[in-house]
Symmetry: C2
Subunit: 381 residues, 2 copies
């Protein structure tokens, strides 16, 4: 896969998009079986809903593949270029990472998105979905592999792993089984991988995110940002979990509380809330005496994911940006923007709070490593 | 450390260089004690030699610190900058990695180099040297910490770990003890860390490097490159361990053999040699039938470190560059160039064959991670 040019990879992506369209009925039938099993098992509505592929959602799978096809190929891009004093021509170019294992829950779209992102970036991948989506994933995997073969690419570039715990445990125990593991989904899964994997894991290890409303905050920005950061998608790792309000803006608390509560959010004022990542319609609220106290709070309870300050004071904003240690720091904007699509990366396979390799959204570029290519005419040391 | 500006970090580096100069006699006395112990214990010459600090070598320690001081500060550098459609101003900036653990053998210069590189890049570090150099390292560490304090930086930014196995085992078992572990030194140490560390390890996992002399090789380049790649420093991980010679250039073998043997190298033709990283004045030699066979050999026996082709055939060179999977690939140049200094990175703390984060020499830039800074005026999703 690593040496295949853009044209052929894009042809394979076209074939995947086309074949999903052609096989829409087969895919829907396989999905109906999974949905029936999940419903009979009494799974909660949110899970069954995510699992379900409507005709519109199947069309959406093809559209996502075409969108990834349209992105630039990161492979071969020159990152650094220089001519050394001894005449050597040094270039540092992007090459695929190798084998990427993606572990995810009952979201069939991840099967297609992950395969497409890996094909585009020249990587092989191992997809490990949920048992709940086993028929859907098998149908989608068959389509992807058939399309790869039709485009002259190795079908084995996209493989699946049996959705049982033992197979996963064996995979992540072997440091040579893949070059990186990327979890998509719940905090429990991520914690399990971070604790047990011998393969490096790219993941957001928690998302206890804060919005700090500074003494110099503009209420017309502060309240919409606070509400949006919580309610836009409470289950997302970039959702805010605690609001910090400077004492000089404590006058905003009733209005904030009102805005949140009318959006269906429960506001919790006790210390126990601070360390909790609710991923739900709940938020902690704390009044702090100073920017220092806000920075201390974030350093203590934050998970280095996404942190926001609302302020019109340039010096306070700069201090917050410099001193908060996180993948993404916002001034006068919602934490919800931490996302590959929002950042103009086209698509993402996940978000990382690792300090090594990739910090923030993981897009095509983050699915590459580099190679130094050095051309000479006989140079020796 | 992360928020300290370049001026103060450079002042601390000046203070380290100056204090090494002032305390040269104390350092020499501490070193003499270590050298006496090592000599009495019958340690081999190479080890004792590396351990010994002559007045010139002590002056060299100061010079190395001043050279690191002169390098640009990687912290705060903007890696990416864009204005999103919604008006958000996105920047991706370099920030320090955090805490770097450096594990090394009886080379006192590493104590000073590593501390200086970490100070320059805004990182804290844990230095774990060899028991053999315990007095020398203590003297050097005292100088570094005194200089940091004199420059108003926290002395605790540079700490040491007791040189016993248990302390090291405990350190690397705790994923929160440091952000990355960098070994400097022997293959055994690296293998131990790669096998046991719960903290990511940046290292060259073996250096079974090849020089392939193609059918279209120029002998005037091939023979000097082959000899240099072996003899310039046989113990280095970028030294060549096997020569591959295309059958159409088998006429060069007697001359190659003669050149190597007269430089003191033992040339081994048997298959057993191919998987061996000699790190010594020995080299494997294999005649191959084709470029394909050379590529297969490198894929089978190589360790993805440094690989070279000698050829005047542009198509063969391009195929080699594209298909060989290694941190560094050379055309008509010695594998010995894989080095931060040679690559114009100023200094290196080691070489990595990891696929994640840093592949190749690890310099100041590789000791950083990034942070997204997003500035808005009230944007929500």
């Amino acid at each position: 896969m690593a040496t295949i040019g853009r044209d052929r990879k894009d042809a394979a992506l076209d074939a995947i998009a086309e074949l999903i369209h052609e096989r829409a009925e087969d895919i829907a039938a396989a999905n109906a079986a999974d949905v029936a099993t999940a419903t009979a098992a009494g799974e909660r509505f949110a899970l069954v809903d995510r699992l379900t592929l409507t005709p519109a959602r199947i069309a959406g799978l093809s559209a996502a593949v075409r969108a990834i096809r349209a992105l630039p190929d990161p492979v071969g891009e020159t990152v650094r270029e220089s001519r050394l004093d001894n005449g050597l021509e040094l270039t540092k170019v992007r090459v695929p990472l190798g084998v990427i294992a993606i572990i995810y829950e009952a979201r069939p779209n991840v099967t297609v998105d992950a395969a497409a992102l890996c094909v585009k970036s020249g990587n092989a991948c191992i997809l490990r979905g949920s048992r709940m989506a086993v028929n859907t994933n098998a149908a989608l995997l068959a389509v992807v592999r058939e399309a790869l073969a039709a485009a002259g690419l190795p079908a084995d570039a996209v493989q699946s792993l049996d959705p049982d715990r033992q197979a996963l445990a064996e995979l992540i125990a072997d440091p040579h089984a893949a070059d990186v593991v990327i979890p998509r989904g719940g905090e429990q899964l991520k914690a399990f991988l971070l604790e047990n994997s011998r393969i490096p894991v790219l993941a957001a290890a928690g998302g206890n995110c804060h919005v700090y409303i500074d003494a110099a905050a503009d209420p017309a920005k502060a309240i919409p940002i606070a509400v949006n950061a919580k309610v836009d998608r409470p289950s997302a790792c970039n959702a805010a979990e605690t609001l910090l309000v400077h004492r000089e803006r404590a006058d905003l608390v009733p209005e904030l509380r009102e805005a949140l509560e009318s959006a269906g959010v429960e506001v919790l004022g006790d210390e126990a809330a601070w360390a909790t990542e609710f991923l739900d319609m709940k938020i902690g609220l704390r009044v702090v005496d100073s920017l220092d106290e806000a920075l201390d709070h974030i350093a203590t309870y934050g998970t280095s994911h996404s942190e926001a300050i609302v302020t019109e004071d340039e010096a306070a904003a700069e201090r917050f940006v410099r001193e908060v240690d996180a993948a993404a720091v916002y001034v006068n904007a919602s934490t919800r923007f931490t996302d590959g699509g929002e950042y103009g990366m086209g698509a993402e396979i996940g978000i990382s709070t690792n300090r090594l390799h990739a910090r923030g959204p993981v897009g095509l570029e983050e699915l590459t490593t580099t190679k130094y290519v050095v051309r000479g005419d006989g140079q020796i040391r």
